[in-house]
Symmetry: C2
Subunit: 422 residues, 2 copies
Amino acid sequence: MSDDLSDQIRQLAVQAKTASRALAALDTGDKNRILHAIAEGLLARSAQILAANARDLEAAAKDELSAALMDRLRLTPERLGQMAEDVRQVADLPDPVGTVLDTFRGAQEIDIRKVSVPIGVIAIIFESRPNVTIDAAVLCLKSGNATILRGGKEAIHSNLALAKALQEAGEAAGLPPHAVQMVANTDRSSVPLLCGMDGLVDLVIPRGGHGLIEAVVSSARVPVIKHYDGICHLYLDRTADPAMASAIAVNAKCQRPGVCNAVETLLVHADAAPELLPQVARALAAEGVELRVDAEAARLLDGVVPTVSATEEDWRTEYLDLILSVRVVSSLEAAIDHINTWGSHHSDAIVTRDEATARAFLAAVDSAAVYWNASTRFTDGGQFGFGAEIGISTDKLHARGPMGLPELTSYKYLIHGHGQTR
Amino acid sequence: MSDDLSDQIRQLAVQAKTASRALAALDTGDKNRILHAIAEGLLARSAQILAANARDLEAAAKDELSAALMDRLRLTPERLGQMAEDVRQVADLPDPVGTVLDTFRGAQEIDIRKVSVPIGVIAIIFESRPNVTIDAAVLCLKSGNATILRGGKEAIHSNLALAKALQEAGEAAGLPPHAVQMVANTDRSSVPLLCGMDGLVDLVIPRGGHGLIEAVVSSARVPVIKHYDGICHLYLDRTADPAMASAIAVNAKCQRPGVCNAVETLLVHADAAPELLPQVARALAAEGVELRVDAEAARLLDGVVPTVSATEEDWRTEYLDLILSVRVVSSLEAAIDHINTWGSHHSDAIVTRDEATARAFLAAVDSAAVYWNASTRFTDGGQFGFGAEIGISTDKLHARGPMGLPELTSYKYLIHGHGQTR
């Protein structure tokens, strides 16, 4: 990696740290005024942003990107309008900074308050979707954090145009300079540099596929909050209601198969499987789902729906597609063991009429969100009512599951004395 | 590093993960019974523990360890008694697991509870003090976490004997096997291996000097919570009460100079310095404190007390000794800027009679604990009333400042529906 790039990244980080002090001092009214100015600025500069996006789309067409990737890359006046509306909605959310989290007395009656504060400087490393630029920057701004954004090369012109619009409109309304910065370099060499800025960058949030997450994790000296796989499970217990079981299975697999909270594996209790599995399998097959099944499921589904034999590899695969692995388990414990062994600790559900079984499942499954009689598709900041989401964490430290504005804060202790010494 | 060692560490981690599932299922009564059994076990096995400690002390004497290090290494019947008493006190603390942190309704009225859960497997990497073995293991046990302990070579016999006593007495009372494991290998090669066990080890807490922390940070794929320097500041404002200023300065520097929350730099407002600094300097000099001063402080202290000229290096030095750097600053803002630039974001204090000045200082200083008219020496789990402390974090993610039992937990969302789908 070039020293030039290293110097550039360090300069961005130093500038961001300075900006973060100024951001932390802004009050709620200041921040909301800036957010509304940014929303207007995006609309006012839509011609420039769409022109930049057209350059990215042209390059993408030459590189023969898939239709799905082209769609993710594309900005339209409607999408820009939605983006501006989303910014206004973030302005309407409660300020997560300055919340008194606890008050107590320490030794010698010193008065201690634990108060939420911004984290400081957050680096967001993401791939092709340009909407992440505004989304991430705005959530960090509302929570008083400076951001360094490093997007993918496919969206670089769009990202730079969006960042410029945000900076110009924001700074005219009082946004500190360098509060939101975009790394112009889009090759992988900037990733380890950003992740090595300990003392300047306080947190890295990577958003993207395995390769990106791995590049971040293997080089990070700075704390990382990440989302690995979404290998989610649905377990149909002995006493599962068949209609509910089918409805949840179809919803959790098919409503949007390409997302992290869709299920990848169906587990069915052996006592219920002979009656339940054929019904559920027919409902899934009717939606075009390919079933990869263990020997017992194959036997039960023989002549019912077409199946493919599963291998161990299937238990650890996030298909993100209309494919579902299916396994018949001998007990609740076997189901829990399968989930804790092969899952990604994201979202897992049980369908059962038995409360004791449900409670045992909820207690033992080691995942961010554990469901009783509901679809795993609810693991989402919006569905949880957080109003905004910076991502979903499959980590257990600092933040787990959907991350909203409070998860973008740290805290400090403020102590008031009258001369106490030890 | 040898494949053998790599296999050994992986095996410990796999065993710890299994144990962590069993630990998470224990109720408060189970855990407390085990803790009391461990306290008794330490006393019952004190002959073996002291014999093992004697071997370490003998080796240390041969290696000509300093008297201070020898003292840290030494176990006595009294110290073992205190250790057992500390274990009983942890049993008496509230269980941090199972706390309902929040309840709310998501989309379609799904019922969501956010509940505290153990983190899972925690690796504690520490240096010479054998008391950390019991201390860390017991706090992790109370919070439902499995531990992998990796202590320094100076204390290896003591550590193994303590761990064995804990395991034998604990397991007889229901502690799951492998819930507390000690790495027999004490060379540095086990550190990157432990820190690379992502998916098995959930958190690494290093406790020791710079070299150890750096070895952990540079190799970690697993989240780390750490304590770097304690470069703490005391700022005497224009309106500081002179008697309070002297008392806090002497206490914060001299009561225990070798600890992280002792101050290393004194900042004095230029308007107050001519009168205030000579008084405070005389009080410090009377305690044997060497003063390393900037030009203005040198001028004001000329003929009052002996001083040494400070260089920039002094502003970033954690002396851990009876040495204090001193700087005269032109304003509150200059004091804040010095602290945020040169400090380690640990604990910093202002002495002032002016409330607006104090509030501005508390808001702007970016440290775990910020004090108004009290000594920085209060940054401590015991002084804060946490009942126990696993360490003090200078990080901002997950835990900041003194870390007690709640900081050793994560959380998960438990969702109860009646068949909701999206």
